[in-house]
């Protein structure tokens, strides 16, 4: 699939939760072409600090623009959070593989931890479009860090929330909600997840225990995001062999059972 490297105008940019920001950028190329789980590589500084771009998942898209939803975690995202509508950012994308929605799926369980829900929104929209029943589980440390809730409510999906401190919804981990849902043992379902690594690992353990097919969107430090620098490798067990695979090109979506944590 064709990838683009374009200057994208910031159309809207605002803080949506504690340490979390939402931004809409003008780009037909990304807006038209991004598929669920794909990402862009964004230049946050025209100088040399930070030098490398930042990979951000495409949150939502339309014909002329796309959105990102991100957490401020370090220097790059801090700088990004200070950019304003009217400024232009260099954007490379859409990149990576995408979530697969197979024909036989009867129900889908979508599990997002923190800003991880950003990787899953396009997927939720596609599941709804294809009339596949979907349950969204959303987790965060506390209520003030929950994102995407209003957008999910607008879509009218069955949504359940967990916070570590109980400030909203179930007190505990979002993976506990996942186990609750899976316990009823319905067949032909699939789990999609994205979040902090410990959460995804826990989710993977649970879904494998229940024998449910699971696709996870992984994160990694990235250099080029084009498959060249070989910096973003993850260990994948495929056909009995453990091999390094690139999160940027063979991923970011991998089957949970293949990931060597």
């Amino acid at each position: 699939m064709k990838r683009y490297d374009v200057d994208a105008l910031i159309l809207e940019h605002r803080r949506v939760a504690e340490d979390h920001y939402w931004m809409r950028l003008d780009s037909d190329a990304i807006g038209q072409n991004a598929r669920p789980g794909q990402f862009i590589h964004l230049q946050v500084s025209s100088g040399t600090v930070p030098l490398l771009r930042r990979p951000l998942t495409v949150y939502r898209r339309s014909s002329g623009s796309f959105e990102v939803l991100y957490q401020v975690l370090g220097q790059g995202t801090r700088l990004l959070s200070n950019t304003k509508p009217g400024e232009t950012l260099r954007v490379l994308g859409p990149l990576g593989n995408h979530f697969r929605v197979l024909e036989h799926i009867r129900t889908a369980l979508v599990v997002g931890g923190g800003a991880g829900i950003a990787s899953l929104m396009l997927l939720v929209e596609e599941l709804i479009r294809r009339e596949i029943p979907v349950i969204v589980l959303l987790g965060a440390q506390r209520a003030s860090r929950l994102v995407a809730i209003e957008d999910l409510e607008t879509l009218g999906v069955d949504m359940r929330v967990a916070t570590d401190d109980g400030s909203r919804g179930h007190q505990g981990f979002v993976t506990e909600l996942a186990e609750e849902v899976l316990r009823d043992g319905l067949s032909n379902r699939v789990v999609y997840g994205c979040g902090p690594t410990p959460m995804m690992q826990a989710l993977s353990d649970i879904t494998q225990r229940y024998g449910v097919s699971t696709q996870l969107a992984l994160e990694s430090y990235m250099g080029c995001a084009l498959g060249v620098c070989l910096g973003c490798m993850v260990r994948i067990r495929r056909n009995g062999i453990i091999q390094h695979m690139r999160v940027c090109t063979e991923g970011p979506i991998f089957d949970a059972e293949e990931i060597v944590w």
Binding site: Y4, D5, T48, P50, V228, C229, L230, G231, H244
Partner: protein
């Protein structure tokens, strides 16, 4: 008037002096969406070894101020797969292909070169004696003048292809290594490979990279690279390809003045996939502004302060 950028380096005819550096442009195909490959001076492909190498454990890269550390460990498909799967794609372009090679032993270097010899579409070999991320071989050849000499001499005996030797900056006196490889029959020198570096995570109290140390690249190392190119240019008669932190045409111009006959764009390819083309266009503009008619007018054209001699550097 548009300046003439064409240059022949170590027998490699290039339409301009800007190459893409090994390991930062894959095997070309990965960048085809963004770069008209026919516009490049040359392509140096990702390092090739006799057998496929799996590379190092992760994390392998880490960003640093104006630079990045990498400890990839020369993961590559091996020479057989390179010849059958990667090289055919590159043959469609009218651009010199330079094959970077590495090995753990002299015999491995010889075997790779022997297998490349006779393949259509290879303009030159760049012998990597400066990779800091592998346990044996690699940089150990590049930090000892005698070992460097013997390796290049051995490789020289099995090929007629132009031989470039990529030098490490992680040495006390790079001039000794440069002289040694020139005496052994090298046709050109690539300078520099990455600087050995390290990063520390205070929360985990661990090195950030799984390999503990890694190679530093990017604009942070440009002053070191310029110094090495300048020093080497004083003591060898073979051409130098300058590299290390080149982000712009201005950077490239600096390397040419310091004594490089050509340059390579490396880490910048990760920041802007079309960085090499930006460098070419900007270099042409700068030469034009300075009313330079031919690139050769500026190669090694540095005016030293009065009274400064080689022994001062």
């Amino acid at each position: 008037m548009i300046p003439n950028l064409a240059v022949t380096v170590a027998g490699i005819q290039m339409r301009n002096p800007v190459m893409v550096a090994s390991g930062t442009f894959g095997y070309g195909q990965e960048y085809a969406d963004f770069v008209d490959i026919n516009r490049l001076g040359a392509i140096v492909v990702k390092g090739i070894t006799r057998e496929p190498w799996k590379g190092n454990a992760t994390p392998r890269i880490y960003e640093t101020p104006s630079g990045m550390l990498n400890a990839i460990g020369l993961q590559n498909v091996g020479v057989r797969a390179f010849l059958s799967e990667k090289l055919p794609y590159l043959r469609q372009f009218d651009v010199p292909v330079i094959v970077n090679i590495c090995g753990k032993t002299t015999q491995e270097y010889i075997d790779v070169v022997t297998m490349l010899e006779g393949s259509q579409g290879i303009a030159a070999v760049e012998v990597n004696i400066s990779c800091p991320n592998i346990e044996c071989g690699g940089m150990s050849f590049g930090t000892d003048p005698d070992l460097a000499h013997d390796l290049i001499q051995a490789v020289r005996q099995v090929t007629d292809l132009p031989l470039l030797v990529k030098l490490s900056p992680n040495v006390t006196d790079v001039r000794q290594i440069a002289r040694a490889v020139e005496n052994a029959g090298a046709d050109g020198i690539s300078a520099i490979n990455t600087l050995l570096g390290m990063a520390v995570d205070i929360d985990k109290r661990r090195p950030v990279l799984a390999n503990v140390t890694g190679g530093l690249s990017g604009p942070a190392i440009k002053p070191v690279a310029l110094r090495v190119v300048y020093q080497v240019a004083q003591v060898v008669n073979i051409p130098i390809i300058g590299m290390g932190g080149i982000m712009s045409g201005r950077d490239a111009f600096e390397f040419l003045l310091a004594g490089a006959s050509a340059v390579a764009v490396g880490t910048a390819n990760f920041v802007r996939p079309d960085a090499s083309l930006c460098v070419i266009d900007e270099l042409r503009q700068l030469l034009q502004q300075q009313q330079v008619q031919d690139l050769h007018e500026v190669i090694g054209g540095l005016n030293l302060p009065e009274g400064k001699r080689l022994c001062d550097i």
